[in-house]
């Protein structure tokens, strides 16, 4: 059985890399203990600071094609419970679950004394590490905390420095994506001595507007406010930012990956780009702590299949495969192949290619345009087939609706394969053109055939 246990950022041990992100699922000790019983490897406590007052409602979501919560938005603030209560419960959890990681997420006013005090108290309570919440995009930023810190490199460096003066456990800086270049903040954190990064925090968002009342969601007495967006929708953005951080020497630190992780597959992708642990929130808010079962089970099965014994065996393996566009081979040529035995005749590839790509998929040899084909169908007279009246009428041939690719014109863009609803019905096949690898950089530098 592959070993999922790991040590993160120079000293945070955990039985598996799956942590609960700092959020409602880690509000209190009772919750965290149930989560550990369910199988979670660690938990980043709901951010501790001077208790706040929340509004109701607090969440809104984006549904897609009948699926709920493709994206989730919240305007909830940090913990609304006293600091002492949170710290006392951290101590209780650590006593019962010494092998699990408990990270204290912290946010206090921007003074050295306040940070020194909270760091001391958190570590005294038994926290295995500290996560500095410099990312919260709403409510706290207006008070000079959260993303108000995380959007200014100097503030990030200063406060991280104060924390490092005091901390004995690893210090993680949680980064906001609501900034032009996330590396600016990561570099500041690294300069100040941070031991790791958590990325990404939620993305500024307005999820939608009720078209009956014209009021935006979530609705608080007729008004709303921008919130933080998370869930499956944000994963590609998070992956890219994780990669940016890994690819930059001045930013590079152990990363706890966050952003739309709902399955073991998502987690594997974050780890393949270099993350040491991952954090989950929306999937748990949607389905409960039990989602961890398949996360660990699925990841282990995949590792076994791939021959990975430990997380470190595959961590970062895909990072070098992401490069800048000007390093891509311009002479790599693929074309679409439609496997007619699998084709169900929806013709989505045809219309996608005609309207959204390069007009190289055809339904006939005359290269009729889409409007001409639709007009011909409308003009056809159809009747309900009645056996008594229709003996001998031929049904449409099964292949009549299978489109055909003009491979000479196909640019290999993938669009037809992306829209095809049938697995492996359209494949992109390598065309051997006997041309050497050549990149844009080669062309600019005049050094082909590299």
């Amino acid at each position: 059985m592959p070993d999922l246990s790991t040590t993160f950022a120079g000293g945070i041990r955990c039985p598996n890399p799956f942590w609960l992100a700092s959020a409602p699922p880690t509000n209190c000790g009772e919750q965290v203990m149930r989560a550990f019983d369910a199988g979670w490897g660690g938990a980043v406590w709901k951010t501790i600071g001077e208790p706040i007052t929340n509004v109701s409602s607090r969440y809104s979501s984006v549904d897609w094609n009948g699926q709920r919560m493709m994206g989730l938005n919240n305007i909830e603030l940090i913990s609304d419970r006293p600091i002492e209560t949170n710290l006392r419960e951290i101590a209780e959890v650590k006593k019962c679950y010494p092998k699990h990681a408990v990270i204290a997420s912290l946010m206090v006013e921007s003074t050295r004394d306040a940070w020194h005090d909270i760091v001391q108290r958190s570590e005294d309570a038994g926290a295995d590490g500290l996560e500095l919440n410099f990312g919260c995009p709403h409510g706290m930023s207006e008070r000079g905390m959260g993303s108000a810190v995380g959007q200014v490199p100097e503030y990030t460096e200063m406060i991280t420095g104060w924390v490092k003066e005091k901390a004995r456990t690893p210090v993680l800086v949680k980064l906001t994506p609501n900034i032009t270049d996330i590396r600016q903040i990561a570099r500041a954190a690294k300069r100040a001595g941070a031991d790791g990064l958590s990325a990404i925090n939620t993305i500024n968002s307005i999820t939608g507007i009720d078209l009956d009342t014209l009021e935006p969601r979530p609705n608080v007495d007729g008004l709303s406010s921008h919130g933080g967006y998370c869930g499956p929708a944000v994963k590609p953005i998070a992956l890219n930012m994780v990669h940016q951080l890994q690819n930059d020497e001045a930013s590079r630190l152990p990363i706890s990956g966050i952003g739309g992780i709902g399955t073991w597959r998502d987690a594997a992708e974050f780890i393949l780009l270099g993350c040491g642990t991952v954090q989950v929130c929306t999937a748990v808010m949607h389905y409960g702590y039990r989602v961890i079962e398949d996360m660990t089970d699925g990841l282990q099965n995949w590792m076994r299949e791939k021959g990975f014994a430990r997380i470190e065996d595959f961590r970062g393996l895909s990072a070098p495969k992401v490069t800048d566009w000007n390093h891509l081979n311009l002479n790599f040529k693929i074309v679409a192949r439609i496997h007619e035995e699998k084709c169900i005749g929806c013709e989505l590839c045809y219309i996608a290619c005609w309207d959204g790509a390069h007009q190289c998929i055809h339904l006939d040899h005359a290269h009729s345009t889409p409007p001409a084909i639709e007009a011909a169908s409308r003009a056809r007279i159809s009747v309900t087939p009645i056996p008594r009246l229709d003996r001998g009428v031929q049904a449409e041939a099964p292949l009549a609706r299978v489109p055909r690719v003009d491979e000479d014109e196909c640019v290999g863009c993938n669009l037809c394969a992306l829209v095809c609803p049938v697995e492996s019905c359209i494949t992109m096949e390598r065309v051997e053109n006997h041309l050497p690898r050549e990149t844009w950089e080669d062309l600019v530098n005049g050094t082909p055939h590299s």
Partner: protein, 422 residues
């Protein structure tokens, strides 16, 4: 609810109780999920298979965006009886049978139920049919028969600004939609509501008027610029076997399938035997057999002269009948009806199979062996003013075929006056 039904009809609670919807309505979330399952095929086979060429992916995607009014208008633009078609169409052999999902070993999209969802919304909003043109056209057109073909023809012409009159020999409009469709698919009030919507376009309806003689047609020819004949098929064939006529209680105990169906649907007469035998295995036979079961018959048998593979009913109708407890006797030919001489009641139907005869207990016999065409009327209605469509022209297909015919005729009639009005 929608527009008030101007056609008086007394709803029967007992019938409603015995014939609940065969396919219940979707709720909003079910409809949304199902709509989103639709692939939105280009040049979609479902739309091509529909005789009225409803743009199925378009109306389904509008459900997906919760543009239900747009969805209903998309349906109505192609098929003025989109509401009843959503309930009565044999979708398995039409749109849903053409769904590409079937080639992917997946359930086809529930097009019929989605169509009903959009149309139910249209009714709930009390919406009205749009006109296609604000022009007032000078010509007058008459449609003979108030069934689906005539209604589609009348609606198309009224939407384009013509004066249209529909004449009908029955007391209610709708044709088989009102009188002949199984109750669990379409109830008379729903059929009548749909006709009321067409009446709102300004179509005039005249009931209790029969057109039979040359003189009737001549009168119409002198009054109208075009005549659409949408009279459907004629009376059902009778069983020509001993006993079918001499019995004093024939009117009660031998009743053809269409009469039997019309009776429970529209007259409040729910009489049914205990041992019912239906002769014939078409879709109407199945409707009658299932209705007999629902009305309380303990035993319902369908007698058919061929085997299962030769039956004209759709496969899904056959399956439904079996689920309702209808029993089938294959390769059986009725040869005589036997009655109790004292009471005059039928006691059995004698059938031949192979070389031998057998008796089926029977106290009610329902022949369902097809309808004769109205040949004489059709032969008389010849000339440049005449158009026809629906069952009387196509030999007897589905409501949706009649709607397609009627609409095409309406478009053709309108076009024929284009030059005159230009």
């Amino acid at each position: 609810m929608g527009a008030a039904v101007p056609f008086a009809f007394q709803d029967n609670a007992e019938v409603a109780r015995r014939f609940p919807d065969l396919h219940p309505a979707f709720d909003s979330n079910e409809a949304l999920t199902e709509a989103n399952r639709c692939l939105n095929c280009f040049d979609a086979p479902c739309a091509a298979a529909c005789p009225t060429h409803i743009d199925v992916p378009r109306f389904i995607k509008k459900i997906g965006t919760q543009n239900l009014m747009g969805s209903a208008l998309t349906i109505l633009d192609a098929n003025i009886l989109g509401a009843s078609c959503s309930r009565v169409c044999p979708v398995d052999v039409l749109c849903e049978g053409a769904c590409v999902m079937l080639r992917y070993n997946k359930q086809p999209i529930a097009i019929g139920r989605l169509q009903r969802h959009a149309m139910d919304h249209f009714w709930e909003r009390g919406a009205h049919l749009p006109k296609k043109s604000s022009r007032r056209r000078s010509q007058k057109i008459v449609c003979i028969g108030a069934g689906p073909a005539s209604l589609a023809c009348a609606a198309e012409l009224a939407q384009q600004g013509f004066s249209v009159t529909v004449i009908e020999r029955h007391a209610l409009p709708g044709g088989l939609n009102t009188y002949g469709v199984a109750e669990y698919k379409l109830r008379p009030p729903d059929s009548l509501r749909e006709v009321a919507m067409i009446a709102e376009l300004g179509v005039e309806f005249r009931f209790g008027v029969s057109i039979e003689h040359q003189s009737d047609l001549a009168a119409l020819e002198s009054e109208y610029d075009a005549i659409f004949v949408g009279v459907g098929l004629g009376a059902m064939h009778e069983l020509h076997i001993p006993g079918a006529h001499h019995n004093v209680n024939v009117a009660v105990y031998v009743v053809d399938a269409l009469e039997f169906i019309a009776r429970y649907k529209t007259s409040g007469n729910l009489t049914v035997g205990n041992n019912v035998v239906v002769v014939g295995a078409g879709n109407t036979a199945i409707d009658a057999a299932v209705a007999a079961r629902r009305l309380g018959a303990a035993h319902v048998t369908i007698v058919y002269r061929r085997t299962e593979s030769g039956m004209p009913a759709f496969g899904f109708e056959y399956e439904h009948a079996k689920q309702e407890g209808v029993v089938f006797e294959w390769l059986a030919e009725p040869v005589a009806i036997h009655a109790d001489p004292a009471s005059g009641r039928i006691v059995s139907l004698e059938c031949a199979r192979g070389g031998s005869n057998f008796h089926l207990s029977c106290d009610m016999l329902i022949p369902a062996i097809g309808q004769a065409p109205l040949r004489s009327l059709l032969e008389r209605s010849r000339g440049p003013k005449y158009y026809t469509g629906g069952d009387c022209a196509n030999g007897g297909r589905e409501v949706v075929d009649a709607v397609a015919d009627g609409k095409r005729a309406g478009v053709a009639i309108a076009k024929s006056f284009e030059a005159a009005d230009a």
